[in-house]
């Protein structure tokens, strides 16, 4: 037995190795051949959406948008969450890429800028179609890659300025405001605050009394706002918050100090509670990136390329990495944003780049 077993094992492992090699070279050949790109049957496409966690309304609406899109093309979305843990995200991606990647479409929210590079590299080698959102290092460009179809992000300077202007209008262009910043070393916090500074330059009557970091957290914003309200008293006419969670924390603080409705509050992200607050008049404005659309669009772009309805080489350079359109929500249009929903027309292959607002700068 022992004498026969070894050659048998050797033969088996050799043939296995040969099969693997054949598979690899076949795949590589197929990937390099431009004609093979987009050869997937619609039913063979595997859709994966990956976000940090499902414990906040924004990312929950992202995954819901992905589900809705997948359903519209008769597929289901695989939902992955990595709890904001970069290592866990990379593990999930490697596991995905270790399987059948021929018709794999991934819509990924990288945890931070530095997490994007390994994801892109893995997807490119495996030939999986990838759309990333929000985070990427400036020197990494989808145009240099074969299957990294697009990178989508939002212009934080613009949104910070939009709500800054809305706040200035709400307080009549005159008076003191306080600013609640996000986590100071994130691009989102920096860009949004730069937007506020730009708005302040334009609205000379508005004075920034104080700015404090509340780390995008509702609870921290509550405490910080209460402290700032005792510090500046009735000089505070408006509160600018770098996201809606902090804006909602500030609203609670105003309520506890008996100032509800007397101070204008603005935020960014359009979480459902904030949209309702805008609709009800307790909040002045917020900005929506449309999480449900984000969840659908990444899958839609990948699906269109995988099934051959779009070719990567035909996608304009400006559409490979772009700022997507965002929407200022005020009392007038809040009703349209109360429940996040997607419009199937946005995801048709001819329309997937309709929301391009400009190239990344």
């Amino acid at each position: 037995m022992r004498f026969t077993a070894r050659p048998a094992a050797a033969i088996m492992s050799l043939s296995l190795a040969a099969a693997v090699l054949a598979g690899c070279s076949e795949q590589a050949a197929g990937g390099n051949d431009a004609a093979a790109e987009g050869a997937c049957q619609p039913s063979d496409v595997r859709l994966v959406g990956q976000v940090r966690n499902e414990s906040n309304p924004y990312e929950a609406s992202w995954l819901a948008g992905g589900d809705a899109y997948a359903k519209s093309v008769g597929l289901t979305q695989e939902r992955l969450t990595y709890d904001g843990d970069s290592t866990k995200q990379q593990e999930q991606i490697s596991q995905l890429l270790a399987g059948d990647t021929k018709c794999l479409v991934m819509n990924v929210l990288p945890n931070g800028d530095s997490d994007t590079a390994p994801i892109v590299k893995g997807a490119d080698q495996a030939g999986a179609y990838l759309v990333t959102q929000w985070n990427k290092p400036a020197d990494l460009d989808p145009a240099d890659h074969r299957t990294w179809v697009s990178h989508i992000t939002y212009n934080g300077v613009e949104s910070g300025q939009q709500i800054g202007d809305a706040l200035a209008t709400a307080i009549g262009g005159n008076g003191g405001i306080i600013a609640l910043q996000g986590i100071l070393d994130t691009a989102a916090a920096k860009d949004r605050f730069a937007g506020l500074e730009a708005s302040l330059k334009k609205n000379t009557g508005v004075k920034l009394l104080d700015q404090q970091a509340a780390n995008f957290s509702r609870a921290e914003a509550l405490t910080v706002t209460k402290t700032l309200l005792t510090k500046h008293g009735e000089h505070v006419k408006g509160i600018w918050a770098a996201n809606d969670d902090m804006a909602l924390g500030a609203l609670e603080a105003l309520q506890q100090q008996g100032l509800a409705g007397k101070v204008a509050v603005v935020g960014i992200d359009a979480v459902p509670d904030a949209v309702k607050a805008v609709q009800g008049g307790t909040m002045t404005a917020t900005v929506s990136s449309d999480g449900a659309w984000q969840g659908g669009i990444g899958l839609a772009i990948g699906y269109c390329v995988a099934t051959g309805k779009l070719a990567v080489k035909d996608i304009a350079a400006a559409n490979r990495a772009f700022f997507a359109e965002q929407f200022l929500i005020t009392k007038d249009n809040a009703a349209d944003f109360v429940s996040p929903k997607t419009n199937p027309a946005d995801f048709e292959c001819a329309n997937v780049f309709n929301r391009v607002a400009g190239p990344l700068t």
Binding site: S55, A60, A64, S217, R218, A219, P272
Partner: protein, 333 residues
């Protein structure tokens, strides 16, 4: 200034009076830091701001109360974040809210506290029966708590409309919010438990010399579980209080409370090695931390500097507090 205050208070010999001096470090540091901020900023010393500091300290005080018992025992507890998240979601789904038709009021709050208690029990059982170090056991329980909270969250934020629970954060009695009075009651209860019940005395003894206690024929295991369960109940109440403040059940309700509570306890003079400190020490620690965060904003320290400055002052305050104790306990390790 705080350092010198602590050093001069150091007794040469360990007498009964020495014990009083030894405990004086943190309160002296509190008074000194308060004095410095009050001198620098007129807004800081206003009545409004003092109310604000005490109100802001309420949740941390309750959580720290719980963690103090665990620390006294020489164990560590990192489950606060998860337990508070689970309790926050539970209570927000049980009182009047926008997700379902429940309206259990006080009963809902009680359930949330009991849930926290059960989580604490779980940590204790893992420690005692499965011999998992408390550090790992509680970290695991925290993850379980966050998991439960995420399941309950189910994509839609539950906003509470229960007037009583919302009122806790808004209504005031003698200038302080109801939450502050609840926290004060918790500190009082915690102190009574620590001072007058077998549970509290044994928690001290376990931290000081567990072997001696075991050799004297005391079965320490049930007390260990009970201490974790008590701590869990405090975290559960903490989660309820955060929900009252924010008006909504957040999975992240307890974010950061685990470490700030340990910081507050240690700043107040409760040692990580166990057997020293107590609820009142920790309460002073909580006030110290809150005075610091509030004061730095009031005197206008730039947010880019605050984190660092706060850390430095905390280290200085702890140093001042433990220098008198260093020779006797291995707090330096």
């Amino acid at each position: 200034m705080t350092v010198t205050a602590g050093v001069t208070a150091a007794p040469r010999r360990r007498t009964r009076r020495g014990a009083a001096f030894r405990d004086a470090g943190p309160p002296v540091a509190l008074v000194v830091i308060f004095g410095i901020f009050a001198a620098l900023s007129p807004q800081f010393r206003s009545v409004d701001n003092v109310q604000n500091i005490v109100d802001a300290a309420a949740v941390l005080a309750v959580v720290t109360c719980g963690i103090t018992f665990v620390l006294m025992m020489g164990s560590i507890d990192l489950s606060a974040a998860g337990v508070m998240g689970a309790a926050a979601l539970t209570v927000s789904l049980l009182v009047a809210n926008n997700r379902n038709d429940n309206d259990f009021g006080l009963l809902g709050i009680l359930v949330a506290v009991l849930l926290g208690c059960a989580f604490g029990c779980l940590s204790g059982l893992a420690l005692v029966l499965l011999k998992v170090p408390s550090f790992m056991a509680t970290l695991g329980v925290s993850a379980v708590g966050l998991g439960v909270a995420t399941l309950l969250f189910a994509g839609v934020q539950p906003n509470i409309s229960d007037t009583m629970l919302k009122g806790w954060a808004i209504e005031r009695f003698l200038g302080f919010s109801y939450l502050t009075w609840i926290a004060a009651a918790c500190v009082l209860v915690g102190w009574l438990v620590q001072r007058y019940t077998r549970l509290g005395r044994y928690a001290f003894a376990i931290g000081g010399a567990e072997e001696v206690l075991t050799l004297s024929g005391v079965r320490v295991k049930p007390y260990k579980i009970a201490v974790f369960a008590l701590a869990g109940a405090f975290y559960g109440l903490g989660g309820v209080m955060v929900t009252s403040q924010l008006g909504a059940g957040l999975v992240q309700a307890g974010d950061g409370y685990d470490f700030s509570a340990i910081t507050a306890a240690v700043v107040g003079g409760t040692l990580l090695t166990g057997g020293r400190g107590g609820v009142l020490h920790s309460a002073v620690g909580v006030l110290l931390v809150m005075v610091l965060t509030n004061g730095l904003v009031q005197v206008g320290v730039s947010p880019y500097w605050q984190g660092g400055v706060e850390g430095l002052i905390v280290v200085a305050a702890v140093a001042a507090a433990v220098i008198p104790q260093r020779r006797r306990n291995q707090v330096v390790k």
